[in-house]
């Protein structure tokens, strides 16, 4: 098909063409960047966390008596283990995705230049197995290592061993020899790395989506008032029942404590609410924007068709088929949208540069551009179809009328 006449016609209607091109370009820029951000958020929703998530319920307690904690914790754990269906129970100081907790600057030595912040998890005896930590190298803590590690009201346990996550091991010892090395916390304390686990998420949701999202260190700890989280393991189908039973049990054992239980699935769900709502907002904006763009094209195309009724009639009268007319308008739309997309690619790239500079967004991968282009081509063709069909039905006899 000869596109020269189309260009001539477009050239004649510069202003409306420029407007559609601009609209397509802007829509393309917003769409590509929004889809990119949506993709990132969706990837975050599936963030890995190598513990037995579906088997766990977590009961956080507040207001326990610090003076009797050493005796109370083993008693409470024994009671929890006695609940039918429970396959394990342990105490922790904080929970992946749970309330924010201590972060330490860790390094390979006091002179090291690399000090990533890592979350501090302190585990009571049996903790690794109840959580379902997946050991990649080394071993879990021994009973003596729990007993030797105490806080005495301070910040850091006085034990000598830690287990770290794979991401953190990679960051500190990129050559892969983390096992047996000394992990330094600040400039005075250091611990031997005895194990490396698959990546476990950090507490809170502020690190989600960052490279440091899995930097965590596990310390063993003897029973201590700092333990505020009881982790109870059961088969997934027993979770709800175990949750209620465990809450009731702790409540009878310590009526003055403030007790709040959740399944781990709920905790994870809450950590991602902001991520999810952001993704939904973007999906909504994209859908509405594409709809508005489509209707804009419909409106302008039908105006064009009406303006050119006589020309269409003449073309039909001198032998053009309906299919010719239809194809003419579809090709015209394709050319306009293509121009818009070309401009939109440049704009997308510019918008992405701005967002990268101000909002810590990574560079837009190139494959988002063809996705945006295809979407807009498709929408353009669909939107032009109605007016084009309308045009193809213009009878040749129109050519002979004066109005």
């Amino acid at each position: 098909m000869d596109i020269a006449p189309i260009f001539a016609s477009l050239h004649k209607h510069r202003t409306p063409v420029a407007l559609i091109v601009l609209e397509i370009a802007l829509a393309c820029a917003v769409f590509c960047n929004a889809v990119f951000i949506i993709g990132q958020r969706v990837a975050e929703l599936g963030m890995s966390n190598a513990i037995a998530e579906s088997h766990l319920v977590v009961i956080s307690v507040n207001g326990s008596n610090p003076d009797t904690a050493r005796a109370d914790i083993p008693r409470n754990l024994a009671a929890l283990r006695g609940i039918p269906g429970v396959t394990g129970a342990a105490v922790m100081t904080s929970i992946p995705f749970g309330q924010s907790a201590g972060v330490d600057g860790v390094s390979t030595g006091p002179d090291s230049q690399v000090h990533p912040g890592a979350s501090r998890y302190m585990l009571g005896e049996g903790g690794p197995r109840v959580l379902g930590l997946r050991l990649l190298k080394g071993r879990f803590f021994g009973p003596g290592e729990y007993a030797d590690s105490t806080l005495r009201g301070g910040m850091m346990p006085n034990g000598h061993v830690v287990i770290i996550t794979q991401s953190l091991a990679q960051r500190l010892w990129p050559s892969g020899h983390a096992l047996g090395q000394q992990l330094w916390v600040g400039s005075e304390k250091h611990y031997a790395v005895i194990g490396v686990t698959a990546d476990v998420a950090r507490p809170g949701s502020s690190s989600i989506g960052r490279g440091s999202a899995h930097y965590a260190v596990f310390f063993p700890l003897a029973p201590d008032p700092a333990f505020t989280q009881y982790v109870v393991r059961s088969a997934p189908q027993n979770r709800q029942r175990v949750l209620h039973a465990a809450e009731a049990k702790l409540h009878t054992l310590a009526p003055n404590m403030v007790i709040k239980g959740q399944t781990f699935a709920q905790i994870r769900d809450q950590a991602f609410t902001a991520t999810r709502s952001m993704a939904w907002v973007l999906v909504l904006v994209c859908l509405v924007m594409l709809t508005v763009t489509a209707f804009g094209i419909v409106g302008l195309s039908s105006f064009w068709v009406r303006q050119r009724r006589r020309q269409i009639g003449i073309r039909r009268a001198i032998g053009a088929t309906r299919a010719n007319i239809l194809r003419y308008f579809q090709t015209e739309n394709f050319l306009i949208v293509s121009l818009g997309i070309a401009l939109g690619m440049v704009l997308s790239w510019g918008v992405n540069l701005y967002l990268m500079k101000h909002y810590e967004l990574p560079r837009l991968p190139w494959h988002y551009l063809p996705v945006g282009a295809l979407t807009l081509w498709l929408i353009g063709q669909l939107a032009a179809l109605g007016p084009a069909l309308h045009a193809s039905r213009v009878p040749p006899v129109v050519a002979t009328r004066s109005v």
Binding site: E23, L26, V30, G63, G186, E188
Partner: protein, 432 residues
């Protein structure tokens, strides 16, 4: 004349309902989305204490050792107990308060209510006067109480309603953390946004339920809420001497001259501490006022900014779309406009007539946008984030929505109206 143009506009808009509806819908959607995000941004980046915030300052000192020292580094975001107490006792500012976040178990006087945990603010007494906290009943504890481990408490309105049914509870005894406290005051509803005085406990968290004298709370060893940064050897577990920063210190300085003097005082204090061998670093101080402090901490979530920019992009798409549709609409009426011009209407009056039509679309679109913004904000409030409840349209934003919608549509109408004015009357009359 305006009334006549308005009448013409209504007739014209009614003639092609589909196109009119499309224009109005596009404007309404664009305005609705952008006003929703703009309102959230406006609420979140607002001044928590208008009129007062310029006088409130947040001093930062650098008491850390030389480990990991980098020249030009920011000092810690909080102060240590020692520095806080020294600055408090120096009393060089018009008002000053040292504070920390905590939590306390409350045993309600009514046994029917189960004991519960409540966020507490441990602070010295200037907190209330400095931040203009409104009192419902009673007053703050005395100056002497700041230093003598007094068992006195100020309750929030919410907690007072929960525990005492909203009655004047001053003088009553409340058992907290296993100790008896006397209620000395109840404050009225007060929720500064952001939670500027302690960003460590959440940028937009609610105000605390109970307020205790700082020393009382520390000596009771209440659970700590917030962030603690330590350096050096941390085997020391005594909060008062440990090498950790964990308290917030705020000062009120009524004039810029006083602020400059206070900054100099902080430098001198740091120098003195270094000469005493307590500090190892050279003076490294900051004295930001409240809004600068919020800015420095990037308090407004970046997602809110991102949403705002995307909504603005969307609005521009909607406006360009409206320009296109309006152009189509105006040019379609070329013959009608040609007749008007031939009958003596000047270009100017045709232009005015078309702009009135554009403005009418903007007005209706603005109403639609307002309704959509209200819907959007309602959806935002359904979200579980801690700032969600704050998303409300206030009067200035309400008016801004209308002006914005009409202004934007008028701008969108300029090009089509101008193009339509250029029509040559003779040509239009002839071809028909």
């Amino acid at each position: 004349m305006f009334a006549y143009y308005f009448d013409l506009a209504l007739r014209s808009l009614r003639r092609n309902r589909m196109l009119t509806a499309l224009m109005i819908l596009a404007i309404a959607l664009g305005i609705g989305a952008s006003m929703t995000t703009l309102t959230v941004l406006h609420v979140l980046s607002g001044d928590p204490l208008p009129g007062k915030s310029a006088k409130l300052y947040y001093p930062q000192l650098d008491p850390r050792d030389m480990t990991n020292f980098r020249p030009g580094e920011e000092p810690p975001e909080q102060v240590s107990w020692m520095d806080g107490m020294n600055l408090l006792k120096a009393g060089r500012a018009d008002r000053q308060a040292l504070m920390a976040g905590g939590a306390v178990a409350i045993e309600p006087p009514d046994p029917a209510i189960a004991p519960f945990f409540e966020d507490a603010r441990l602070t010295t007494r200037d907190f209330f006067a400095m931040f203009d906290v409104p009192f419902l009943y009673g007053h703050v504890w005395s100056k002497a109480d700041d230093g003598n481990d007094a068992r006195k408490v100020v309750l929030s309105r919410r907690i007072n309603e929960k525990l005492f049914g909203g009655a004047d509870s001053t003088g009553k005894i409340l058992r907290m953390g296993g100790k008896d406290f006397r209620v000395v005051g109840v404050i009225d509803s007060w929720r500064p946004t952001p939670h500027f005085y302690d960003l460590m406990t959440g940028d937009y968290s609610e105000s605390e339920g109970v307020y205790l004298p700082l020393l009382t709370g520390i000596d009771m060893k209440l659970p700590f809420n917030g962030s603690r940064d330590c350096w050096g050897n941390d085997t020391n577990v005594d909060q008062k001497t440990a090498q950790c920063t964990w308290l917030q210190f705020w000062v009120q300085l009524d004039t810029p001259a006083k602020a400059a003097a206070y900054r100099q005082f902080l430098v001198n204090y740091s120098r003195q501490q270094k000469s005493l061998g307590i500090y190892q670093r050279d003076p490294n101080v900051h004295l930001r006022n409240l809004m600068q402090w919020l800015d420095y901490n990037h308090v407004v979530p970046s997602d809110v900014h991102l949403q705002f920019w995307l909504a603005m992009g969307f609005l521009i798409v909607c406006l360009v779309n409206t320009v296109g549709l309006m152009l189509a609409k105006f040019l379609r009426r070329a013959s009608e406009l040609g007749v008007r011009r031939a009958l003596g209407a000047s270009r100017r009056s045709v232009f005015a007539q078309l702009l009135v039509e554009a403005g009418t679309v903007g007005l209706v679109g603005g109403v639609g946008g307002l309704l959509l913004a209200l819907l959007g904000l309602w959806i935002v409030r359904m979200q579980p984030s801690d700032y969600a409840a704050l998303a409300h349209l206030d009067l200035p934003m309400f008016l801004a929505t209308f002006l914005f919608a009409i202004g934007a549509t008028l701008v969108a109408g300029l090009l089509p109206a101008w193009r339509a004015c250029l029509i040559t009357p003779a040509l239009q009359l002839k071809s028909n």
